[in-house]
C-alpha cells in the first residue's frame, strides 16, 4: 500500500516537474516575445519620433516657403480665377 502511494507520489512529482518545465518554456517564450516586442516598440517609437521631427521640419519649411511665395500664391490664385471665367464662358 505504502509502495503504491510512493509510486503515485513519484508519478505526481514527475508530472508536476514536467508541468513546471512546460510552464517555464512558456514563460521563456513569452519573455522572448516580450523582448522582441519591446525592441520593436522602441524602434517604432524612434521611427515615429523621426517622422514627427521630419514633419516639424517640413512644416517649418512649408511655412517659410509659404511666406516667401505669398505673392506668387496670390498671383497663381488670380490666374486660376481669371482662367475660370473663360473656362465657364467656353463651356
Amino acid at each position: 500500500m505504502k509502495k503504491i502511494i510512493k509510486y503515485w507520489l513519484f508519478l505526481v512529482l514527475g508530472g508536476s516537474i514536467i508541468y513546471s518545465l512546460f510552464n517555464y518554456i512558456s514563460y521563456y517564450e513569452k519573455q522572448q516575445k516580450l523582448t522582441t516586442l519591446t525592441t520593436e516598440v522602441t524602434e517604432r517609437y524612434e521611427q515615429l519620433n523621426d517622422i514627427a521631427e521630419t514633419i516639424l521640419k517640413l512644416e517649418l519649411e512649408a511655412k517659410e516657403i509659404n511666406k516667401e511665395k505669398e505673392k506668387q500664391i496670390e498671383e497663381y490664385q488670380k490666374w486660376v480665377r481669371q482662367n475660370q471665367i473663360l473656362e465657364d464662358l467656353l463651356k
Binding site: S16, Y45, I51, A52, Q82
Partner: protein, 312 residues
C-alpha cells in the same frame, strides 16, 4: 547482538523510507510553489505582451497617420516649389482660352463681349498705384503701354504692374512725338528697342506688342510701311484702339470720360479702350466705367500677342 543489528538496520530502512517520502513530499510542495510562481509570471508576461501589442498597434496607427501627414506636406512643399511652373502653365492656359473665346466672340458667338482696357504713357507715381488698386479690387487684368522713366521712385510701380499680371506693352522709350520719334524709321525702331531693354530690366518682361504714341497713323506715311516691316522682323505686333476716353486733351471730366466710353463702345463685340493713368478724371470714372461695362455684358481681358486685335 545479531538481533540488535538487524533491528538497527530495520530502523534505518524505515527512517530512509520516511525521509525519502518526506523528500518527495517536500519536492512536490516546492514544485507546486514553482508552478504557482511560473503561472503567475506567465500571466503577468501575457498581460505585458498584450499591453505591448496594443501599444504597437497604437504606434502603427499613429505611424500611418503621420506618414499620411508627411506625404501631404511633401506634396504641398513640392507644389510650392513648383509654383513658378504652375503659374506659367495656368497663364498659358488662360491665354489659350482667351484666344479661343475671342475667336468665338468674333464669330458672333459667346455670351459676353470683350473689353481690353489699355492704359498709356505711365507709370505715374501720382495715380498709377490708384489705377492698380481699382483693377485689383475688381479683379481685372488690363494692359499698360509703358514708356521709359528711369526715376527710381517709379521702379516699384513698374514692378507692381508686372507682378499683378497685367500685360505690358511697349509705347516707346521717349514718346517724343514732336521731338524726333517719327523723324525716321530708325529713330522709331531704336526707341522701341531701347524701351524693350528698359522694360526688361524694370519688369523682367520682354515686350512684343507696341502702341504707336499718338496712334499708328501718326507715323508719316512714307515711313509707316517701313516701320511696320521692321516691327515684323522684330516679331512685334501693334494695336491702336476703337474706343477712347478722350482723357489726353481738352478738359476731361469723369462724366465726359464715362460718356466717351459708353457712347464709343456702341455694343462693340471687342472694345479696345484707350485711357491714360495721368488723368485724374479717368481715375475717378474708372470704377463706374467697369461696372457699366460689366452691366453691358463685357468681360475684361489683358491683351496678348495672338489676339486678332494685334496687327502683325
Amino acid at each position: 547482538m545479531g538481533k540488535t543489528k538487524s533491528n538497527l538496520r530495520g530502523f534505518i530502512k524505515i527512517k530512509i523510507k520516511l525521509f525519502s517520502s518526506l523528500l518527495i513530499f517536500l519536492l512536490l510542495i516546492l514544485n507546486a510553489c514553482i508552478i504557482f510562481l511560473l503561472l503567475n509570471l506567465n500571466y503577468l508576461k501575457a498581460y505585458e505582451i498584450a499591453i505591448h501589442e496594443q501599444l504597437l498597434s497604437n504606434i502603427e496607427d499613429t505611424h500611418g497617420k503621420k506618414l499620411q501627414e508627411l506625404s501631404t506636406l511633401e506634396v504641398k512643399i513640392e507644389d510650392l516649389k513648383g509654383l513658378d511652373q504652375k503659374i506659367l502653365t495656368i497663364k498659358q492656359q488662360f491665354f489659350d482660352n482667351a484666344l479661343a473665346y475671342e475667336t468665338l466672340v468674333l464669330q458672333g458667338k459667346g455670351t459676353k463681349k470683350i473689353a481690353y482696357l489699355t492704359i498709356d504713357d505711365g507709370p505715374y507715381s501720382q495715380y498709377t498705384p490708384s489705377f492698380l488698386d481699382i483693377l485689383d479690387n475688381y479683379d481685372i487684368l488690363a494692359t499698360f503701354f509703358l514708356i521709359g522713366k528711369p526715376n527710381p521712385i517709379l521702379e516699384p510701380i513698374y514692378k507692381r504692374i508686372a507682378d499683378s499680371g497685367h500685360t505690358i506693352g511697349n509705347h516707346t522709350y521717349s514718346h517724343a512725338i514732336k521731338r524726333g520719334l517719327y523723324n525716321s524709321v530708325d529713330s522709331f525702331i531704336n526707341d522701341v528697342i531701347k524701351q524693350e531693354k528698359f522694360l526688361q530690366t524694370k519688369t523682367g518682361v520682354t515686350t512684343n506688342i507696341v502702341r504707336f504714341p499718338g496712334g499708328s497713323m501718326t507715323a508719316k506715311s512714307g515711313y509707316r510701311t517701313e516701320i511696320l516691316k521692321r516691327l515684323r522682323t522684330l516679331n512685334y505686333g501693334y494695336i491702336d484702339w476703337n474706343v477712347s476716353t478722350g482723357d489726353s486733351g481738352g478738359y476731361p471730366t469723369p462724366t465726359s470720360v464715362l460718356n466717351n466710353v459708353l457712347n464709343g463702345i456702341n455694343d462693340k463685340k471687342i472694345a479696345v479702350i484707350l485711357m491714360h493713368d495721368f488723368s485724374y478724371s479717368t481715375l475717378l470714372a474708372l470704377p463706374t466705367m467697369i461696372e457699366e461695362l460689366k452691366r453691358r455684358d463685357y468681360i475684361f481681358l489683358p491683351l496678348f500677342y495672338e489676339s486678332a486685335k494685334i496687327i502683325k
